[in-house]
Symmetry: C2
Subunit: 200 residues, 2 copies
């Protein structure tokens, strides 16, 4: 049995729940409200000094933060991770792309609009996040014009990592209409067995 500390508004937390659900792994969900700063309490900081959700705790009591590290841990040896060494490296490559180039823009734009209520003092930041979010989506679109998924031509945890915030990008005013290959890929992701929609 796993315990997940998570906020269902967060795409990073959604990734973890989607993998647990698709792999049929039992878990208990402990709701943490980021907006109420529940990741900043002394109790939570003792579990994760970096003060972020999601956080996975396994049956031995080991606490693992970082959404994409959790995906790698849970999915190891499953059909969601390719066996070939270079394919696995390409999967990891897209997961680092997601955390470095995609999430800091696409997720933060959504956070500013949908959760902070688009305050005027963040307008310039929002503009930059939308612009850089489109650059990340353009890199994805170019890849998906030639490939059905991000690695190994099949559904892996790289697709889960990138789907989480891409499919709600418009909540951050990042319009997806110009990305037909991304639309087709999102539909392929939603057609996977045991797909779980985001519950935000």
């Amino acid at each position: 049995m796993y315990t997940v500390y998570g906020d269902r508004k967060s795409g990073n937390c959604y990734k973890v729940e989607l993998v647990l659900h698709q792999l049929g792994l039992p878990y208990e969900w402990r709701a943490i409200d980021v907006l109420k700063k529940e990741t900043r309490t002394p109790e939570f900081l003792a579990l994760n000094p970096n003060g972020q959700v999601p956080l996975l705790v396994n049956a031995d009591g080991n606490a693992l933060p970082e959404s994409n590290a959790i995906l790698g841990y849970l999915a190891e040896g499953s059909g969601l991770v390719p066996a070939d060494r270079m394919a696995r490296a390409q999967m990891l490559r897209w997961m680092f792309f997601e955390q470095y180039t995609h999430e800091p823009n696409v997720a933060v734009a959504r956070f500013i609009v949908a959760y902070l209520g688009r305050p005027p003092e963040h307008e310039e930041t929002l503009r930059q996040k939308i612009e850089n979010g489109h650059k990340a989506l353009a890199v994805m679109e170019r890849h998906l014009e030639k490939h059905s998924f991000f690695a190994a031509e099949r559904y892996t945890i790289a697709d889960i990592a990138l789907y989480a915030y891409t499919h709600v990008a418009e909540q951050g005013l990042i319009e997806l209409a110009r990305y037909p290959a991304i639309h087709a890929w999102m539909e392929r992701v939603r057609r996977q067995p045991r797909h779980l929609p985001m519950q935000a």
Copy 2:
């Protein structure tokens, strides 16, 4: 034989060269100057549509970007990656921490100061990067007060990933004097067999 497209000013590129050197793997280094925008030429963008170095090309001609994905690929099955599943997940956790929380602050502060020459219009960004860089270093310090390395109590690619920009943080005006555990860890990293100093 590997080919690495890299810029020796970049800590992300240094990570890759350090791993290749420590594992004794043969490689050819192709110098790419980021400041001269050589990552934005049509030729380079054909290799990596995200326009970044480092980029590894293996003997089969497969191109792999993202420094930490390259580390994972090169070091798989070596002594730089723990065999235990949770230890490997913790290693990956610190590598995602490095790319999400550490590098965007510590590396960017260094870039603004050491390579852009600290232009006045970036002063507020620099202040934020220094402040957030210290937050990342404080998380590392807290971990290293109790542990000799980031995962499995031994030197892994997580240490290489975090060493790359930490040891040159002061070039970005992020003072390291307040972090004795980080100092001791950096010394342990430098004492590893076949350590290679950064050549910037």
